[in-house]
Symmetry: C2
Subunit: 419 residues, 2 copies
């Protein structure tokens, strides 16, 4: 079979499975998730063996140890993945929720009900645990998952999907509900992006270039995720001690994530009081500051910032920094250079907080809190499929309801339209 035929076969099977999954109530979906969790643990030796092949190939091709660690599965990690699946089973089912409803003046009963999206395509890099996480979230929300992971984890993903499909069949749920896109070439990604009519939504999870190419090339509707050029703005009325703590937490608590801060903006009125404290704290934490001249005036170790620094998603112990003359200038900087993910203001001023929240056009805005809180787990969603930085359908952390659409149901007794 050609790549195209193989892809069509798999995507069609996913679409058929999605139609069977959609009307299922919660119980059989949860039972299937628990069967998957048990099967992952029971067959972990088999998964580890497949993973060992991926790890050996990665090592041969000179992959960094950090990346190899991300790729590696062992029994402990598989047990943790299985536990995460059980936690998804414990979450409420978003499907069937009545979002709105009313009885119209003519007696027609109207309800808007949550339904699955259908087939969710996910393109991702790195860790093979995403294969199971994404499949579990899709299954719980009644969707079929069409997964396209990193080619470096292909053997691991084949093993994981095989175990999940067997478990689904054992649980009496269509095994086609979890599918791996066949093939490891770039062509298979293209087929997925062009599968309008078979795939209902595409969620790219990964680096900026992956997301950009999916957004530009896909005819399937895309939910853009992840790029985070997050800002901490220290207002004229900030509690400076709090500002240092929030800055450090936002930047250094975990540097490799999309909700870590990448740029510090400081109101000119507090630059002299704040920047010496901040620069020392950042230096002590091993952070390199890329600042403008007004920042550099307070620390010899400040590296001159270029335009690129303000656009940068460092994901490292680096931060861009700039002094601004007003809250409005901070907002203008964020609108120009930000990615619309998360920006936090530190201020004791209620009007300033209100104005910042109103003017900043991002998925999440924090007041006197670390940017690191923009997260499905922290927001209490119980699970997260990604963080949307677009405005359509879902914005910010996406939990189970964000993996659903709705359907209008109107019930009458022979109702006809008059005009």
């Amino acid at each position: 079979m050609s790549d195209h035929d193989e892809f069509l076969k798999v995507a069609t099977a996913a679409k058929e499975a999605a139609a069977e999954l959609a009307p299922l109530p919660r119980a059989p979906k949860d039972a299937a998730l628990r069967t998957i969790a048990d099967a992952l643990v029971a067959r972990s030796a088999e998964i580890v063996a497949a993973n060992a092949g991926d790890v050996a190939r990665a090592r041969e091709s000179g992959t960094s140890e950090a990346m190899i660690d991300r790729l590696t599965l062992d029994e402990g990690r598989i047990a943790a993945i299985a536990d995460a699946v059980r936690k998804v089973a414990d979450l409420p089912d978003p499907v069937g929720e009545v979002v709105r409803g009313s009885t119209l003046p003519n007696g027609l009963e109207l309800r808007q009900i949550r339904v699955p999206l259908g087939v969710v395509g996910i393109i991702y890099e790195g860790r093979p645990n995403v294969t199971v996480d994404a499949a579990a979230l899709c299954l719980k929300s009644g969707n079929a998952a069409l997964l396209r992971g990193s080619s470096s984890a292909y053997a691991s993903n084949v093993a994981l999907v095989g175990v999940m499909q067997d478990a689904l069949a054992d649980a009496g749920v269509p095994a086609g509900a979890v599918q791996l896109v066949p093939g490891q070439t770039r062509e298979s990604v293209k087929l997925l992006m062009r599968a309008r009519g078979l795939v209902d939504v595409l969620i790219p999870r990964g680096g900026a270039s992956l997301i950009k190419s999916v957004v530009e090339e896909s005819t399937v509707p895309v939910i853009e995720t992840g790029l985070g050029v997050c800002h901490v703005y220290v207002d004229a009325d900030a509690d400076l001690g709090m500002a240092v703590d929030i800055l450090l937490n936002s930047k250094t608590q975990r540097v490799s994530v999309c909700n870590a801060a990448e740029t510090l903006l400081v109101h000119a009125d507090v630059a002299e009081a704040f920047l010496p404290l901040a620069l020392k704290a950042l230096a002590d934490a091993g952070v390199t500051v890329h600042g403008d001249e007004r920042v550099a005036a307070y620390g010899a170790q400040v590296v001159p910032a270029t335009e690129d620094d303000y656009y940068a998603e460092y994901l490292s112990l680096d931060i861009a920094a700039r002094v601004v003359d007003s809250l409005e200038d901070a907002v203008a900087h964020i609108r120009t250079y930000g990615s619309g993910h998360t920006e936090s203001i530190v201020t004791r001023s209620q009007p300033a907080a209100r104005r910042f929240v109103a003017l900043v056009d991002s998925a999440a805005v924090g007041v006197n809190a670390s940017t690191r809180f923009t997260d499905g787990g922290e927001f209490g969603f119980g699970a997260e499929i990604g963080i949307s930085t677009q405005k359509l359908h879902a914005r910010g952390p996406m939990g189970l309801p964000e993996l659903t659409s709705t359907k209008w149901v109107f019930t009458g007794e022979g109702h006809l339209r008059g005009v």
Copy 2:
């Protein structure tokens, strides 16, 4: 200036206006809408004069009288358009609604707030009233409107947008909030479709080929609207008199609209009792039936149906018809040939109604009611920007809330993330 430069100028102005509109409360937006309504009436002579040019050009180029009627504006029609704007002003403002909110275990206060989408691009055909309707709905929901109407109505649209921009400026609202895409060529549509970063969402309103080309070519997120291949399914347990009434209302109450029925599916068990009644009623109403052999058995005047008939959005006094052996076969037909708009079942059986609602994957499902009810006005939304047949963001009739996104706001007192 090149087309591209002119487009960029207009789109950038819309984006800047959107940033100013977003934080506006309801009062200034409503005041601006009422100023627009008054100005349209006050300057109707000027609008009628511009429109007369479009009408004359349309007549010269041999446009049908029906199309010319759609294009023509007079003082009465302009007054009606102005009234519709006043009605939009009377609707509640979706912006600022707290969609969800909670205080997290750590005391962080979390709110999800409705915010405007930003710049809404609308590509549409036909009537110039859409220019004002769409602008009013965008303005009310805090969005800037970037309008690309039919080139046949270009002079009318220039006049209408000019009047609206002047009214906005008079009301102290950024005049850039309502913009017409410059130029009448296909190139200007392409520029709009590629304006990712300047335009937040594109809503095509028009025929199937327009929508298809926008969906396939746009890099801006699109909300697919309008195509309606709607079905009436007469179940084995239907009240046959009710079924005839619903069929006739769905097909003939207004034939040119997307929620009109285009295909009749009849359960085999009632074909003999129902089809003679239905075929007579359809014939009396002047409807041509394109049926399969099992339908043709009950009426000499039935035209043999081809595969294309089942895919057809006739928008005319034509209907496709087919006998099916089960509810499941009806659902399978709808999944194969339908457009995911609206399907109605006529049945006295509660289990059949429940099963049909669960299995049909469309924006709206009716039970014992005409397909014609899928409409923002009928659903009580007060206004409608279109009917979405996609699953992402909005599905079914789109009112003001569907023209919004959300923003997460989290407020703490120095909250840091621990793990």
